[in-house]
């Protein structure tokens, strides 16, 4: 089995200090590290790797990210690849995933891609899903455990409010893993020394078969920032139609009822997505598409 792990080069939050003179983050003091969620994804990949399997690590980042890929090699990854182009500035998740998808294709697509679910810097949590969109593969996010049996992957997910879910997908697939599931093993001294000056192959846009236009996505612009506002409470009025007992019970409970979720089971993914969008528009979370 061939496993790919996506690693992000992120600032270590404990080293971020604000310069008291300028009020800006003192860039010179920031140390960078492997994103913690990606670190546990790498460790899981190394544990999962069968004797004939490989683990390849990918990162989109500047030359400094080589150190992180070297650390991954020292821990036991078989190969590493860095994607960068000096024209790239701050990376939006959509750009990162376009580059990652191209890099995965260049290296011949793996059977499984493991990503950390969230990065400590941007933390959009969108990379696994966007990558799945690029590759047209199934994706499971918020994964805490998983096992693979005869080409099928069964994953346990941690959802909001303590809920758990289990999903099953066929390989090839992408997983977005929770932070802190396992610790990355400490590299042995010989391995650490072996990789210290190992060159990491660099792929630019040309090597990936991409042009700058491929990375041009409609710019996201920020129109307005508003403080969160509590939703207006509606005064509860009991239904006049029911029996006395029902009305008393309604008054006693002040109208509190469990929020009703709805599970979309029928329809194609596109129809389901449309239904979700319609629901969000109806509740005022999204503007009506024009």
């Amino acid at each position: 089995m061939r496993i790919a792990v996506c690693l992000k080069y992120v600032p270590d939050p404990s080293t971020i200090e604000v310069d008291p003179l300028t009020g800006m983050i003192d860039i010179g003091r920031v140390l960078y590290m492997m994103n913690p969620a990606d670190e546990s994804a790498l460790e899981l990949a190394l544990r999962l790797r069968p004797p004939d399997g490989t683990v390849t690590v990918f990162s989109v980042g500047p030359i400094e990210a080589d150190r992180l890929l070297q650390d991954a090699l020292a821990a036991g990854a078989d190969a590493a690849l860095r994607v960068w182009d000096d024209a790239l500035g701050s990376l939006k998740p959509i750009v990162t995933t376009t580059l990652l998808a191209a890099a995965l294709r260049v290296k011949a697509l793996p059977d499984l891609v493991l990503c950390g679910g969230h990065s400590v810097d941007r933390g959009s949590g969108t990379v696994p899903a966007l990558l799945a969109e690029h590759l047209d593969w199934p994706v499971v996010t918020d994964v805490t455990q998983f096992e693979i049996q005869s080409g099928r992957l069964r994953a346990r997910r941690r959802l909001a409010r303590g809920a758990r879910a289990e999903s099953e997908v066929t390989l090839p697939a992408i997983l977005g893993l929770e932070t802190g599931l396992v610790h990355l093993r400490q590299a042995s001294l010989p391995n650490l020394m072996r990789v210290k000056y190992t060159p990491i192959p660099l792929y630019g846009l040309e090597e990936l078969g991409l042009s700058p236009q491929d990375l041009h996505f409609p710019a996201m612009t920020l129109h307005e920032v508003m403080p969160p506002r509590p939703r207006a409470r509606m005064m509860f009025t009991p239904d006049v139609g029911g029996s006395v007992q029902e009305r008393v019970a309604q008054i006693m409970s002040a109208g509190v009822a469990g929020k009703a979720g709805k599970i979309l089971e029928s329809g194609t993914p596109e129809q389901q997505a449309d239904a979700i969008i319609a629901f969000l528009c109806q509740r005022g979370f999204l503007e009506q598409p024009t």
């Binding site: 200090e17 008291p20 003179l21 400490q186 042995s188 001294l189 020394m193 210290k196």
Partner: protein
């Protein structure tokens, strides 16, 4: 000798990437030998602390000509102040030098920020061919037939072999102790320095300290600053910050039950210091042990397969007028490197061969300086010179300058009265005068 896999076998292993270790690794690498520089921090300099003024400009200039053009230095030190303090007054000796190697190349000394400076120095060693490994904590020395043949790093398969090990692992050197070269220290031999870096606008620094352009100043304070704890204080100007701190002898901190940070706060509040640090914004806080007893705490400097340099060897000159460490660290590192290179050429790593280190230290004026000032530390770090006399000087000046209608006294009767009022006995005073003379004059 047993052979080991090529990537686990080095000619020289240097432990600790401070000024001693990086200078040693640089020199060994330039000699074409295979050298490994091990550092426990995440990067070289991450864990290194000192005042910090680097008075070794000329030494480094021999290795890297015009090094200050590329190194992250703060300000060349063109002014030095030694101030004697009482709780409310201060008398200062102010030295200024506008040229002649202080404000111009090759300079006398620079204020530096150690994390930046040490990182740069280690990068020079790396560029010269040294293998620099960070996040590598050394736990022990490896021995074969009684000879030290390498070190063990705290990692899986952490054994690593070198023909010569140079221990530059700082004060309280773990390696020197493991090798049986150093004893445990006594609390009176060590001082604890606590330090703050306060951010301040460069224009304010220049105005406030009367500095032209990028020049810098180093203040050292003696007297009432540390109350009855034996010690002193310092304040140095960086480019856009001040480094200031208090140094207190560990044993007297313990005896007097004083907390170092309380002393630092008192220092900052002293009327002579407060206007200098006003408006400074705290950027860093750090603390470190300082080996202050010089010659008296010097370990055995070499054994079969190993040399000791820098703070690990106690090469820190804290003797009142002098507060120098990084320059001696660098010199001793270079002397150790020269010794290791010679041993590699001869193919002999016995203590007998490595004893050339002593000669090299003499040539680089390290051991000669420490021998010359061997009487200074025990006396300077004593209570009378660090606290009592400076305070008396400050109080005496106050009385000389005070005009309050009382009859003027000449200095001698004034001094006589002050001595009588203090706890000092005349015999003690005479002995101290003799000791000062012996420590500094001849």
């Amino acid at each position: 000798m047993t052979t080991h896999p090529a990537n686990q076998q080095f000619d020289v292993i240097v432990v600790g990437a401070g000024p001693a270790g990086s200078a040693a690794a640089l020199l060994v690498a330039r000699a074409g030998l295979k050298v490994l520089l091990l550092e426990r921090g995440e990067y070289p300099g991450a864990k290194n602390v000192s005042g910090a003024v680097f008075y070794g400009s000329a030494i480094l200039n021999e290795l890297i000509p015009n090094w200050w053009e590329q190194a992250p230095v703060e300000r060349p030190v063109c002014r030095r102040d030694i101030a004697f303090m009482s709780p409310t007054t201060a008398v200062a000796l102010d030295f200024r030098c506008a040229g002649a190697g202080f404000a111009t190349a090759p300079y006398n000394g620079f204020t530096v920020l150690r994390p930046k400076f040490d990182r740069w120095l280690a990068a020079q060693a790396e560029a010269a061919g040294a293998f620099v490994l960070t996040s590598a904590v050394v736990d022990d020395v490896l021995r074969e037939n009684g000879r030290i043949v390498g070190v063990r790093v705290r990692r899986e398969q952490g054994e690593i072999y070198g023909k010569v090990v140079i221990a530059c692992d700082g004060v309280n050197s773990f390696l020197a102790k493991k090798a049986g070269l150093q004893r445990e220290f006594h609390p009176h031999e060590l001082s604890l320095g606590v330090k703050e870096v306060l951010g301040l606008d460069p224009a304010i620094i220049q105005d406030r300290f009367h500095l032209t352009d990028n020049d810098g100043i180093a203040y050292e304070y003696l007297g009432a600053i540390t109350e009855d704890v034996h010690g002193g204080a310092f304040l140095y100007t960086n480019r856009d910050s001040l480094s200031l701190g208090v140094i207190g002898q560990v044993s007297s901190l313990v005896e007097r039950r004083k907390r170092p940070y309380e002393l630092l706060e008192r220092f900052k509040a002293h009327p002579a210091v407060a206007p200098l640090v006003r408006g400074g914004k705290l950027r860093e806080y750090s603390a470190h042990l300082i080996p202050e007893s010089g010659w008296a705490m010097k370990p055995k400097l070499y054994t079969d397969g190993m040399l000791v340099a820098g703070d690990a060897a106690g090469f820190c000159l804290a003797a009142g007028l002098y507060l120098e460490g990084m320059n001696y660290a660098m010199q001793s590192g270079l002397a150790a490197a020269e010794t290791a290179i010679l041993a590699c050429q001869k193919g002999n790593f016995s203590a007998r061969t490595l004893s050339v280190y002593q000669k090299n230290l003499k040539q680089r004026h390290v051991s000669t300086d420490f021998r010359a000032y061997r009487h200074a530390p025990s006396f300077v770090n004593g209570p009378r010179l660090q606290n009592l006399y400076p305070e008396m000087v400050a109080q005496g000046m106050e009385q000389i300058f005070r005009v309050d209608g009382a009859p003027k006294r000449k200095i001698l009767p004034l001094a006589y009265r002050m001595v009588r009022q203090s706890s000092i006995k005349p015999g003690q005073l005479l002995r101290d005068v003799y000791q000062v003379a012996r420590a500094y004059l001849w």
